[in-house]
Symmetry: C2
């Protein structure tokens, strides 16, 4: 269970789960935690996490859904290797598999419709908007340099079975792009939840679950508010972070 130079091991505070992270390679934030709690995962589900990074979503899902079998796909070899070592560190090799590859080749990698659920925490901003981090690992995760949103959703649509679910965390300001592009690849949006940093403030993030080949009709769930006051998390967010304790 090797930890390399510059890496650190963090206790996730979730039933003893630990994760290896590298501060230069986009340490995970709140998004994967929100997504892991939002997505519908049934018994014995086969889950694919596209662009898994350090493997945080597979690790969280393994704790939340003890019968799920999860694959994480990551394009950057160093990051995929780090994710695989985190899986081994937790003794979860029988339930989580980390592959190094490009999600644009998902059909060649896995075939068509082989997963019940696909999760996606895609790069946030289009190239040329916002600041691009100088560190290459961060740049790939934060910006759509290695494929755009449409390509990621196409990959999800190929990988998921008919009637299966694709769950995404994304910027609220790009809701229209997301919904239009989901429909374009036959993923019908079925559940939407807006994340507001505080009550009375605009949403900055969204959680969206779509069904492959689903009929129209969206459920807009109650919003989630992150902070109750000052830097104190809301009761719901605290409960979510304590779900594994």
């Amino acid at each position: 269970m090797e930890v390399r130079f510059g890496e650190r091991v963090d206790d996730l505070g979730r039933g003893g789960l630990r994760i290896i992270q590298h501060p230069e390679r986009f340490p995970f934030g709140m998004d994967p935690v929100l997504l892991a709690h939002f997505v519908t995962v049934r018994k014995d589900s086969r889950v694919l996490d596209l662009g898994t990074g350090c493997g945080i979503i597979p690790l969280l899902l393994s704790a939340l859904h003890p019968t799920a079998v999860i694959t994480g796909l990551e394009i950057q070899p160093d990051t995929a290797d780090m994710a695989a070592r985190s899986v081994a560190l937790n003794g979860l090799e029988d339930r989580i598999r980390i592959d190094c590859g490009d999600y644009r080749h998902v059909r060649e990698l896995y075939g068509h419709g082989k997963f019940d659920v696909v999760t996606l925490n895609p790069p946030y901003r289009e190239p040329g908007t916002g600041a691009v981090s100088p560190a290459a690992g961060r740049a790939t995760a934060r910006h759509e340099l290695a494929g755009d949103l449409g390509a990621a959703l196409s990959a999800a649509s190929v990988a998921v079975k008919y009637g299966g679910r694709v769950a995404v965390v994304f910027l609220a300001e790009r809701l229209v792009d997301l919904l239009v592009q989901l429909r374009a690849v036959k993923l019908e949006p079925k559940r939407l939840r807006l994340i507001h940093p505080r009550a009375g403030r605009p949403a900055n993030l969204l959680l969206l679950e779509a069904v492959k080949g689903g009929g129209p009709g969206l459920k807009v769930e109650p919003p989630l508010t992150v902070y109750a006051a000052g830097q104190t998390y809301s009761a719901e967010l605290l409960a979510l972070y304590n779900a594994y304790a």
Copy 2:
């Protein structure tokens, strides 16, 4: 100021405004009130209300925006006549004009891009879903019998000037249809507000403002909660109903 058999005159509780309604012809509910308060109307704006019904949106906008000049277009002759009589009842003929016509002919009626703002409280459900009222007036308003959502949005896009705004109140469950079809007619969604009947419950309605030819980027505003507890309106909704008092 004739009031006809079966009609009634209601005081809007807003600066003395009164409106003639007919119980068989879909008396207005909360939607037009929400929409009138949501839409951005600047000084001296020319506003078109598509499918104005009893004229409630023009009447409310005239009170909220004293320099706006408003046209209401209604396809049903009896309803358009009733709306025109409400305008006269309030002595607002110089600021509100009611036309009887089909919004699918909006270009022939008004030309292209002649309005700063278009408001739209479109029929709610697609034919074949939900109950269709036996009363013809109600059926036209509630269901998309006299044109579908796409036709209404096309009409709005023709009528509004480049850079002008189109504001819509619609079912939250049909958010995806609305956003996809707005973009298809070059109306870019810019502001979204979800209406939840109560805290912790899914949204049932939405308010959306789009800009003709606008760039991408949506602001998801804080949600509006209708009821605080039991049948007591929330503070925000009470304030909105008392805005004219």
